[in-house]
């Protein structure tokens, strides 16, 4: 009886432990997943030893794996590898489109061996060029799918994060062409429904709103970062003025459903654009490694909407960059 109970206890423990430890999962080039335990990766032979779920030992060459699984196998060596190898792992990440991973490997290699600076600088040139192509291709894909918001996100990323890349000029031109059409139309319905109020009581507020849009557009399309920052800072101030006008009109006029609809509609639009402008401004500052300034700008956006997911993500990325280094910028 005692033996049986001991056996059962041991069995329970083993089963619970196994259930708690997650299995490794790798994807093959043909799209199939293999689940089991990755035992070893040999950097010289590029062979991964993998114990499948049925207990059989599989020897998988890195070329048989999907790019991401192959990268994870190669990445197994990054912690202990010599700096030159870390650069090669970074190149692997870069060449399969994992740009943030690549930049991190380059930074780590440089921390271990600063004499690799020239080599890393050369690899970073390729990284920035390929990342710019990636941004442009995402933007063009979004345009094809009729998603102007997504297109604008990638064009803005290109302009603010990779301002020295030749494709940044094309991105700025595309933003210039598309921004007005996309954003000017956002208040079309409000203009149509409340033409009277907009031409009288809220006239100044509307002028401020339009001026803010113009400044954001100029900020995003300026090919000079000082001018871009100046326009975006100006846009924020215009947004503040527009919000003050909305508050003023709200206090002056008799409350009504129509008025509430108009004021709330514009308040939301003003804030949405102010947040977008602030995030672009923060992005410029991050690229220039002015992290505290970047955080200030994001915090202004969060003061307008503390739950805005884009602003929260931007803040987390700035905090990450300020501790690890942005690592994408061109050395001057």
């Amino acid at each position: 009886m005692r033996t049986i109970l001991s056996y059962l206890a041991l069995l329970t423990l083993t089963a619970t432990t196994l259930a708690a430890s997650p299995a490794d999962r790798v994807r093959l080039k043909n799209g199939q997943y293999m689940v089991g335990t990755a035992k070893h990766y040999d950097g010289k032979t590029e062979i991964l030893t993998f114990i499948a779920e049925d207990g059989t030992e599989q020897m998988i060459h890195i070329d048989e794996l999907s790019p991401r699984s192959a990268y994870r196998a190669a990445n197994s060596l990054a912690k202990t590898a010599e700096p030159a190898r870390i650069v090669r792992i970074g190149n692997f990440a870069r060449d399969i489109g994992l740009y943030a991973h690549a930049a991190r490997h380059y930074r780590n290699a440089l921390k271990k061996d600063p004499s690799l600076q020239a080599e890393v600088d050369a690899e970073m040139v390729t990284l920035r060029r390929e990342a710019a192509v990636f941004c442009m291709s995402n933007a063009e894909e979004a345009i094809k799918k009729g998603d102007p918001k997504e297109a604008e996100k990638w064009l803005t990323t290109l302009v603010t994060k990779l301002p020295d890349e030749p494709l940044a000029d094309k991105a700025a031109a595309m933003l210039e062409e598309r921004y007005a059409a996309h954003h000017d139309s956002k208040d079309d319905q409000l203009e149509k429904d409340h033409a009277d109020l907009l031409s009288k009581e809220l006239r100044t507020g509307k002028l401020r709103y339009d001026s803010m849009l113009k400044k954001i557009q100029k900020g995003l399309t300026a090919r000079n970062s000082s001018a871009a920052k100046r326009e975006l800072e100006g846009a924020y101030k215009e947004g503040e003025r527009a919000l003050r006008e909305i508050d003023k009109v709200e206090k002056q006029l008799e409350p009504s459903t129509e008025l509430t609809q108009l004021l709330e509609g514009y308040r939301a639009l003003v804030k949405e654009h102010m947040i977008g402008g602030q995030l672009a401004l923060a992005s410029f500052y991050t690229t220039q490694t002015s992290y505290s300034q970047a955080l200030n700008e994001v915090n202004k956006a969060l003061a307008l909407d503390s739950k805005n997911t884009d602003a929260l993500a931007a803040r987390a990325r700035i905090e990450q960059a300020s501790s690890d280094g942005w690592g994408w910028g061109r050395r001057r």
């Binding site: 009886m1 005692r2 109970l5 001991s6 206890a9 329970t12 423990l13 619970t16 432990t17 708690a20 997650p22 490794d24 999962r25 790798v26 994807r27 997943y33 990755a38 035992k39 070893h40 990766y41 991964l48 991401r68 699984s69 990268y71 994870r72 196998a73 990445n75 197994s76 060596l77 990054a78 912690k79 202990t80 489109g97 994992l98 740009y99 943030a100 991973h101 991190r104 990342a131 990636f134 941004c135 995402n138 990638w154 990323t157 929260l312 993500a313 987390a316 990325r317 990450q320």
Partner: protein, 75 residues
């Protein structure tokens, strides 16, 4: 007496393992702000903000996650 000890040890072990899972659940709650975006263009460009990924590990719940090594080699 011995049997009771074994049973007690088993229960304690299971409870300890269960408490690890409770920590996972707490982590998951903390991660609520940032979902794992690995496999999406944003994560490829900016990196993923999910705490497991930000910690340099692989998120087992996302098959597209490329964060973290496949094998943890000791230094």
């Amino acid at each position: 007496m011995k049997m009771i000890q074994i049973l007690l040890a088993t229960l304690l072990s299971v409870a300890a393992l269960a408490s690890c899972r409770a920590d996972d659940a707490k982590d998951a709650k903390d991660t609520h702000e940032f979902a794992c975006t690995c496999g999406e263009p944003d994560a490829d460009f900016f990196g993923c903000l999910h705490p497991i990924c930000a910690d340099g590990k692989t998120n087992p719940d996302n098959p597209e996650c490329a964060c973290g090594p496949l094998i943890e080699e000791e230094e």
